[in-house]
């Protein structure tokens, strides 16, 4: 059944991806009416299918489908569901603005194809499929970053794609190294590498995989493109990167590193732990200096990838299960917060409000519901209970206590540092008298998505910890 369902998902998303721009550009002669709604229908259908699959597979072992090319279990379906929700939020929020762009049919088409690429990437169990899915997601993300065709978007897209080429080359190197050890293109073959195998090759493959996937999600020092893209490109496009691309790439990174961790041995916690420290400390400290909310969120995204790496550090130790659960929960929190915040920025942009902290003055009075939603999202990012951000950090930091208590301590200190900058927008929105800005309208799709993201953060805080034990690879 799993294979049929994934075939159906592929059929729906490829169909809509190809059909919607064709209809809009040719038959409807550029009226750009069909593509947003067709994409939305496709995404909602996908959520329904994945929801059904998640219920049926919650306590079942992962199954291999398409001749072992994909391996799908609850963990993969959970991440796919998060990515689809992220894409749906972006599709709904973009109804307000993106529909006006000349390239909007392409935007929606690429969105549905990117979601499909995300499914393949998350569930890839063969390196050939992995390369294909990686290419699909990467190329679409480069194009989507530049799709607005203004100077900043094009600059961001060029930087992102040029650096992405190096990441792609590193993945190919890593796969070549693994192939030289296993003579197989199956991801599962990594687990069969004998303990006595050439350790330098295993380490080299690990370094290449971490660098390549780390580039895409913003692991320091491979993050160069991220602040320029997340901080300067249209926030709606960044919401797509946070909600879909980061989740998909994070998912495959975890699946590849999971069998590699025991082969690397005792050095694993130190290596990944160091990357985690660099990433979260860099993200948090530089975010402290930002006076621009979008730039602050860009660096905050880097810091959150550092937190996810804390869970990766726990692999092959007694905290592995807790680490995986924490990673799953944190991707949910990261998607909701990232999409919520960047859609909020897109909303501000549409309302003519700037992104400087000063521009947020008095927003709490003019846009009370949206401001309260942002307050909830920021509290979740801080890790305040009972929001989902608290649970994910709790799982992640607890997972590493046995193997690297120093990392747990540094992560908690970093989480404390982050309060310093997350409190700033709250201060300006609620405790400063400000200039007149337009009032909120909850009928606006982007405002509604911000509120929905905040509500889901509360719901997820109560619901997701109970399904976390099923998040196993």
């Amino acid at each position: 059944m799993m294979e049929e369902m994934f075939s159906l998902l592929s059929f729906i998303l490829i169909g809509v991806g190809i059909l919607s721009p064709t209809l809009d550009y040719t038959i409807l002669r550029g009226r750009k009416f069909v593509s947003p709604w067709l994409t939305l229908v496709a995404l909602i259908l996908s959520i329904g299918i994945l929801g059904y699959l998640s219920v049926t597979s919650i306590d079942q072992p992962a199954v291999q489908i398409f001749g072992g090319m994909m391996k799908v279990g609850f963990f993969e379906i959970f991440l796919s569901l998060i990515a689809t929700l992220g894409a749906t939020f972006v599709a709904v929020a973009s109804l307000a603005r993106v529909r006006g762009w000349s390239t909007s049919p392409s935007f929606y088409s690429l969105l549905s194809l990117a979601v499909l690429g995300a499914y393949y990437l998350i569930a890839a169990h063969d390196f050939v499929l992995l390369i294909g899915a990686w290419a699909l997601v990467s190329v679409i993300s480069y194009v989507l970053v530049g799709i607005k065709k203004d100077e900043r978007s094009v600059e961001g897209a060029v930087k992102y794609s040029l650096m992405g080429i190096i990441a792609s080359v590193l993945i190919l190197y890593a796969i070549a190294v693994v192939f030289s050890l296993t003579s197989s293109t199956s991801v599962g073959s990594i687990a069969n590498i004998p303990q006595g195998a050439e350790k330098s090759l295993v380490l080299l493959a690990s370094v290449f995989f971490v660098s390549a996937f780390g580039f895409k999600i913003g692991v320091v020092p491979f993050h160069g493109w991220l602040p320029d893209v997340y901080g300067k490109v249209h926030p709606m496009l960044v919401a797509f990167l946070t909600g879909v691309v980061a989740v998909a790439v994070g998912g495959i990174l975890i699946k590849i590193l999971h069998p590699l961790a025991p082969l690397v041995g005792n050095q694993w916690p130190v290596l990944i732990g160091l990357l985690s420290i660099f990433t979260m400390t860099f993200g948090n400290i530089v975010a402290l200096l930002q006076k621009n909310l979008q730039m602050m969120m860009a660096y905050s995204s880097i810091a959150h990838i550092g937190y996810i790496l804390v869970g990766v550090t726990a692999m092959s130790s007694s905290g592995e299960a807790l680490g995986l659960q924490g990673i799953g929960l944190h991707f949910a929190a990261y998607m909701l917060a990232g999409v919520g915040m960047f859609v909020f920025l897109a909303y501000l942009l549409r309302k003519g409000v700037g992104f400087q902290m000063e521009d947020l003055k008095g927003l709490g009075r003019r846009m009370p519901i949206v401001s309260v939603a942002i307050l909830i999202i920021l509290l979740s990012l801080m890790g305040i209970p009972p929001l989902i951000g608290f649970w994910s950090k709790f799982y992640l930091f607890t997972s590493v206590i046995a193997v690297a208590p120093w990392l747990a301590l540094i992560a908690i200190i970093n989480s404390g540092i982050s309060l310093g900058y997350y409190i700033q927008p709250i201060r300006y929105m609620f405790f400063a008298k400000g200039t007149e800005v337009a009032e909120e309208k909850l009928k606006d799709p982007d405002a509604a998505i911000v509120v929905l993201a905040a509500v889901l953060m509360i719901v997820a805080g109560f619901l997701l910890p109970s399904i976390a034990p099923y998040l196993v690879i």
Binding site: I166, V207, S211, G224, V270, L271, I417
Partner: protein
């Protein structure tokens, strides 16, 4: 009256001694005699032990009052606490908490942030150099640890 059953033989003997007196009157007399006995014993105790030990108690209370309450509790202890607080304020609160934690640490973090932000030049060649150097450093670290 069942609780007083153990008194019955005693009351009986008393009644026998004072013919025609009811047991309840005998009981009242009994308490009177017993109370008298207790009062004598108490006086004896006071006279011998309490009054006799008065100089000792006077001396003890004088020393306890002066040494412990007046000198130690009211003088030396507050003095020591005040001295410790003053020292703590001058040696720890001001230089470590105010100057160090509140100023220097924050300044340091912000300075580090400004240094780190310089990585973000906006130029792709700089990012590629950072990427490559990071990768090389990572590889060196990995293989360094292996050796």
């Amino acid at each position: 009256m069942t609780g007083l059953n153990f008194l019955t033989p005693l009351l009986g003997s008393l009644s026998a001694a004072a013919e025609g007196v009811s047991p309840s009157v005998a009981l009242i007399y009994w308490f009177y005699i017993e109370g008298l006995g207790f009062a004598i014993a108490l006086m004896y105790f006071y006279h011998i032990f309490v009054r006799g030990g008065r100089p000792f108690y006077d001396m003890l209370s004088k020393w306890v009052d002066r040494a412990i309450i007046d000198d130690f509790y009211h003088k030396y202890l507050p003095g020591a606490v005040q001295l410790a607080c003053t020292k703590l304020f001058h040696k720890f609160e001001t230089p470590v908490v105010d100057e160090g934690y509140n100023r220097k640490l924050v300044d340091g973090v912000l300075r580090l942030g400004r240094v780190l932000r310089r990585i973000q030049t906006g130029k792709i060649n700089h990012y590629l150099i950072t990427f490559t150097l990071g990768l090389l450093l990572f590889i060196a670290l990995v293989f360094g640890m292996m050796v």
